[in-house]
Symmetry: D2
């Protein structure tokens, strides 16, 4: 195989959000899984096994409950990772805000490729959904983009300063 696909593993940092939620029939809304459902999807449907990426579960939260401490944890995970390419799955309400917070926490010249993504419909249990679409776009963005913090959403790549939010 060619060396287009960076030999370094991607680090996948999950924080929760709709992308990693199920429909709770009592609350009539989407609620984060206790444990991320993304690795199971990647293994079964994209043939991406656990040994191909570094998984870090920062938290499993609705993005409206994400705190600076949570983003600090994401930042630490990135700094401590052997990988220089990172995907952060996150709720859509504060996706751009968290990206800006992270950007401010990281040292200048961090040299990392960091791609946030999320979804309006969960990855599992909803058909069709945008979760797979956005997640797939984040994987390729993490491989191809130059160092920086990005948001992969709806087939496009945004900068943290591009938008206030998605809702």
């Amino acid at each position: 195989m060619s060396n287009i696909n960076d030999e370094h593993k991607i680090q996948l940092i999950v924080t929760g959000g709709t992308i990693d939620s199920f429909y709770d029939t009592d609350q009539c809304t989407t609620v984060c899984h206790d444990e991320t459902a993304i690795p199971d999807f990647l293994a079964k449907f994209a043939n991406i096994t656990a040994d191909e990426y570094e998984l870090f579960e920062a938290c499993m939260k609705d993005s409206r409950e994400i705190s600076n401490e949570d983003i600090q944890e994401v930042s630490n995970a990135i700094i401590n990772s052997k990988s220089s390419r990172h995907i952060v799955t996150h709720g859509t309400f504060t996706l751009f805000e968290s990206a800006r917070t992270l950007m401010a926490m990281l040292p200048d010249n961090h040299g990392q490729v960091i791609v946030f993504t999320g979804a309006m419909w969960p990855l599992v249990g909803f058909s069709p959904n945008d979760a797979g679409f956005n997640l797939g776009s984040a994987f390729v963005a993490a491989r191809l983009a130059t160092p920086g913090v990005y948001i992969a959403f709806n087939g496009k790549l945004y900068l943290p300063t591009d938008q206030e939010g998605l809702h």
Copy 2:
């Protein structure tokens, strides 16, 4: 918005394949839609409306039935397009072969970014599936890659010479 997302429209060329199929209960297998189901998905789930990309339906075929004439049509569509960024949806059986055929048809220094993609499970009616994941990855690959012919699959980007096939 930043200019990360190339201002030029992407050209989406569909040729059929499992990604654009439904489950036929008589034949007990997946069969291509008469008309591509991808634009409807893009509009409803990725907020990508028809005016954002150029659509060209080369054919709607199982990839084992794709002929050189079909790939010639894909090649012509690329040459005649105003866009320099192209996605080709295609069946998985001959995905790499068609990418090689196209590469041989194109002039040297064509300067185009061409991203083939496909799926093992159809985009609609199958839950979960890899079709959205691969399609999303193709959109970002089409935006970020340097000129060349690629295959976006399973969150990676391949060269046409990388593999014989996917089955």
Copy 3:
């Protein structure tokens, strides 16, 4: 064919509810379709075409907003129908209550078979769901039960007085 399936058409009365809803990404909850999605499902997946049943759309409401006037409309539709077998799709919050309200509105010896049903997950866009399961059970209940008012749910048939609610 045998005459097991009552020759009279079933009347399908829709009132909304989760069974006939979609996931609204702005409100992060299920919201009733503007128009019932049930006939399209029946035609495409159960081969039950529009000429096989009488459709009456009483309203498209979350069951917590169903009024006595809405149930009165259901009652009138039943009385005015040529069919003696009726399915009422309804939200789950007040499913049993509405069944009791209807029972009180109907004349004694009404001679009608009336089967309420609903779901915790919508019929379309959620996979898997209980909506198809409950709807299928309601069709057979409407065909086989003796006159009376019933709730078909979770593979069982209940009487309106059996439960307070489902949430």
Copy 4:
């Protein structure tokens, strides 16, 4: 709760078929699960737990491979069951034929309610599908029908002699 729902457990006999299959991406067709997926669906989506019914897995086969020995096993399971109400999930190709074979194997006046069902689309992984619809209808048919052998399909109840097949 009222005694509408027969106090005796239902016996669920699975034999395979499309209803209990997944889409095999290598063969591009549906293939029976190694182990039935129905109990998991019933528990999670219809709140029907394993202690509520007797499960018997006769085989997991495409109905075109069902032998008289398989139906004999179904017959034995029915005779040996404490339940007098039985659901048999089965492929659609030979659904009516197997029902006739079973009917011929059972003693006269067997006093059992036996409801065959199946589906054109599998219960899991396909959205929408008819599998839940037909399975739900079989549960209510098993509870309400008088002794006999039936096929619950597309919201109707058929006799084994009604049709040759469904394909």
